[in-house]
Amino acid sequence: MIRRFAVFLLLLGLGAIFADLLLGYTPSEELNLTARYYAEHTAQDLGAANIVTAIVVTYRGLDTLGEVTVLFLTATIIGMVLARGRKHRALQRQLPAAGELLTTGSRLLVPLILLLGVYVFVNGHLTPGGGFQGGAIVASAALLLLLTDPLKRFSHRLIAVMESVSGLFFIGLGVLGLVYAGGFLDSRVLPNGAFGTLFSAGVMPIIYSFIGLKVGAEFTSMLTHLAETEQS
């Protein structure tokens, strides 16, 4: 009873704060200084059409590096926690196979989903989307395979190799930016190219593609680790 009351009080206080914030909120009419800088300079300096991508990959590239690291740590911890105490016994589950329609349908759709993922992360600097979304879509393709055949096993070695190689290339491109351009993760290693084409915005699409592969590998590794736990 006391607990309920405490929860109620806490929520009431938070609600009061939120209501105050909400009533005091005045929508701004003009872009603030940072946003104005991004709006004016992104297209000329970096050649990227999608300003959000420019911020994620170049202006705040270190943030993204940290984010990818956090994801990597999460995937590793999940793997370690789930691998501990797992008994290496033969799979004894008797699972009926998926129906013929689902099998054929997934074999038809998986390549298309993979291609959609590649499109999303290669075109990150032109259209909405980018490495994280593309990586999630690539992982969805792996998920579809897992759903169709629960006993399917992906090669952990392949996933790990893909993950680390993409990570290495990501860091390597960042260091190249340090050597040949303004600083770490600067995208102007390659020329900017014509605005609005696929090969533009320096190394931005390449970096985002590697982020996409890395994120896709990390998500896939999380999913496969969870899938390999035995049903209790």
Binding site: L22, Y25, N50, I51, D63
Partner: protein, 118 residues
């Protein structure tokens, strides 16, 4: 629109916290947290919105020259992008621990886990 989204986001945060504090099943607590997470994202995106403007992507519809007067603030969007991805990582971690806990104790009721209580 921004005002509506912001109010909805705040209400979602409150509801998520309420659910997380009053439920006893760990999985339900995690689900409530994910609702609160969505609410936070909604509030952050609503802060960056400006009326009558459009997405920060330059193409035929929004030429480079009048970008300053036509696009909205791109920075909150980049932040929320990060937040969503990290949110998935955190959720996956919580779920993994919930599974491990169930394997050890055979229950998901949080009031039964009294090992660390003093």
């Amino acid at each position: 629109m921004d005002w509506i989204a912001m109010a909805t986001g705040f209400i979602l945060i409150l509801m998520g916290l309420y659910g997380a504090l009053t439920n006893r099943n760990i999985l339900r607590i995690i689900v409530s947290f994910s609702v609160a997470n969505t609410g936070v994202n909604l509030v952050l995106v609503a802060v960056g919105y400006m009326r009558g403007r459009t997405a920060p992507i330059l193409d035929e519809a929004v030429p480079m020259a009048d970008a300053v007067t036509r696009i909205i603030d791109p920075l909150p969007q980049a932040l929320v992008l990060t937040a969503i991805v990290i949110g998935l990582g955190v959720t996956a971690l919580m779920l993994t621990y919930a599974y491990k806990l169930y394997e050890e104790k055979g229950t998901l009721d949080i009031s039964k886990c009294r090992d660390l209580k003093w």
